[in-house]
């Protein structure tokens, strides 16, 4: 079913989707303390007195976290607030020992940006559209600890290793309309964060968490009541959760019921959203300015004071000059440099390490990039997917693939033979393409006289077909080519065979 026919069915309802994304900052130590940031360490081993909220401790801001937020803000076309403030957000939970989270509610570090992402119109990836979602703001805030619920003993076990780790909350305006758009936007954000290095953004390790805000309304009417959907653990589940919630709300409203402004959790096993028990009722967070932190001042080339300790200065322009090429720029460069299609460059960047592999092969072969890309996307990638391997784990290196492609370019083997060699290389037995070709006798017959003789033999044996061809039926020629191929066990160049046969038949 085409995506647009699905939207036609939904026509009376307009779904509205916004996202709140928490990205863990990639840094050695935490946002306001010097304890280490690391995944999967022994419980409560990466916790300082401040993280445990012991009395008398104070927050000290980590410069690296500020830089990460500025980089991210610039990459998302935001205005960076040269003065931003910290606030306390109060609520009670076992994994929040202070009883409040330090965040930026009034004046965050970056505002009013945008993110462009691509979608395929149909499932064949042959047509891509570019969409944009507005970024409302990016704010720095603390992560909470982790709660392990032990229902059998009616208790919660608390590990504060994650408490105080720096987060960037990226708020995306409700410009999206379905699960696919939400997933594509998050995927692009993930790639951007990974390119910048401001976050490793691995969802399975909790470095990227997404909450979706979903509502539906009739065109022309005001927005409907929205629900917040949490507990989404992958990009795939994000699309499912959003689409399920849209459908649930439509069904409720069409049955005459109303939507509650509530928080729901996505149950990945059942594929549905359920109300979250702990979040009943509207929360009053009693925001107040963080009394222990003065405003955060950022500078640029113009406002930089002359004799300030440069370790205390975060210079927005300095950071801007050093931003790496973002994914959208990298894609455009690949298309321009190699003449590949936009959808090709999209796939190259979507698979970790694939664009580097592609460029490595190009360097080592004379085959044109437009032909190489087919081998990368159709052969290499499909084998990788079939065996659930990453590019780094590929048994076929760029060196081996380039070698194989060179043999093909040199017309030493046919393209069918090349596919066979590739399959052999995949076994990772350490053989080179040349060795495999010799072993399996795949080399093309180079001696033209040999080939001519075989063609003649075939012609002599196919009187009826020869008559048909001479009478004007060109299609029968393919049968003769096929017979020559069979005679030579696939080792003849079909283009050359066709030429030879045509020459002989016209004599």
């Amino acid at each position: 079913m085409l995506k647009y026919s699905a939207i036609e069915i939904l026509a009376p309802w307009v779904p509205v989707v916004g996202l709140e994304i928490h990205a863990q900052i990639s840094s050695n130590s935490k946002l306001f303390s010097g304890s280490q940031v690391q995944f999967a360490a022994p419980p409560n081993s990466l916790v300082s007195f401040f993280d445990a909220s012991l009395p008398g401790t104070l927050p000290v801001l980590n410069r690296r976290c500020v830089e990460a937020a500025v980089m991210t803000g610039l990459a998302l076309n935001c205005s960076i607030n040269k003065k931003s403030l910290f606030d306390r957000k109060h609520y009670f939970y076992a994994d929040l020992p202070a009883g409040y989270q330090i965040t930026q509610q009034r004046v965050p570090i970056a505002v009013n940006g945008s993110l462009s992402y691509s979608l395929c119109i149909d499932n064949k990836m042959s047509q891509m559209v570019t969409k944009t979602v507005r970024i409302k703001q990016i704010q720095l805030e603390q992560d909470s600890g982790k709660s392990l619920h032990d229902d059998t003993r009616s208790q919660t076990l608390v590990d504060l290793n994650r408490a105080g780790v720096g987060l960037m909350e990226v708020v995306m305006e409700p410009d999206m309309c379905c699960g696919e758009e939400a997933a594509a936007a998050v995927r692009e954000l993930q790639l951007i964060l990974q390119t910048l290095g401001s976050s490793q953004a691995v969802m399975s390790e909790g470095q990227l968490r997404v909450d979706a805000n979903v509502s539906v309304h009739h065109p022309g009417e005001p927005y409907g009541v929205r629900t917040e959907v949490k507990n989404i653990n992958s990009i795939r589940f994000l699309a499912k959760a959003v689409d399920y919630e849209i459908q649930r709300q439509i069904k409720e409203l069409e049955s005459g019921r109303t939507i509650l402004n509530e928080t729901r959790a996505f149950d990945s096993k059942l594929g549905c959203t359920v109300p979250m028990r702990d979040k009943e009722g509207k929360q009053d967070y009693r925001f107040m300015p963080e009394p222990n932190l003065p405003p955060l001042i950022l500078y640029d080339a113009k406002s930089l004071p002359a004799n300030m300790n440069h370790q205390q200065v975060v210079n927005i322009d300095w950071i801007h000059e050093r931003l790496p090429d973002l994914p959208s720029v990298k894609r455009a460069k690949l298309v321009e440099r190699y003449g590949i299609l936009p959808e090709h460059s999209f796939t190259l960047l979507n698979e970790d390490g694939l664009s580097e592999f592609f460029e490595d092969v190009i360097k080592q072969t004379q085959m044109k990039p437009k032909k190489v890309i087919g081998w990368i996307l159709k052969d290499l990638l499909s084998y990788l997917k079939k065996h659930s391997l990453t590019v780094k784990e590929s048994p076929v290196s760029s060196f081996l693939l380039a070698d194989l492609l060179n043999r093909l370019e040199e017309k030493e083997i046919s393209s069918t033979a090349a596919k066979q060699v590739f399959a052999e290389l995949w076994k990772g037995e350490g053989k080179t393409p040349l060795e495999i070709v010799k072993e399996k006798k795949l080399q093309l017959i180079q001696d033209q006289k040999d080939l001519e003789q075989i063609c003649q033999t075939v012609i002599d044996g196919q009187e009826n077909e020869v008559m048909a061809i001479k009478a004007g039926n060109r299609k029968v020629l393919n049968k003769l080519i096929g017979l020559v191929q069979r005679e030579t066990q696939g080792r003849s160049n079909p283009v050359l065979v066709k030429q030879l046969l045509e020459k002989k038949l016209s004599e």
Binding site: N28, Q36, S45, R64, V158, P295, Q311
Partner: protein, 121 residues
């Protein structure tokens, strides 16, 4: 509603209603307990209300006496942590180096079911 009356018959001061007290008790997990507690709250509000007598037209609000100070930026080095044993010494209950807490959030019972609400006298 102003000047409301709670279930035990205490007349509440104006502006600090039963609903507000209940809301505050939920949010801050305090227990106003008796009329003296409520009166103290009322007096605190009156004291703070004196701020309204100051004319602040055209004056930028100040939310921190630190506003002219520089926010110190720390280098991203690991300098703390690794004190599990010391931290767990403070815990009443622990399980294998985890702190132990009650399951989830146990909300305060609804107003009607709370025995301690304004029952201290």
């Amino acid at each position: 509603q102003r000047g409301g009356v709670c279930s035990c018959g205490w007349r509440l001061p104006q502006k600090v209603t039963v609903e507000v007290l209940d809301h505050l008790e939920h949010l801050a997990l305090v227990d106003f307990r008796d009329s003296e507690g409520v009166e103290r709250l009322q007096k605190a509000i009156q004291f703070a209300d004196q701020l309204h007598e100051v004319n602040t037209d055209g004056v930028e609000p100040m939310d921190s006496v630190l506003e002219d100070r520089c926010l110190y930026l720390r280098e991203d080095d690991v300098t703390e942590g690794n004190c599990t044993e010391e931290l767990l010494k403070n815990a009443r209950e622990k399980v294998e180096e985890y702190f132990v807490a009650p399951p989830g959030n146990i909300p305060l019972p609804k107003l009607e079911e709370r025995e301690t609400f304004l029952k201290g006298s």
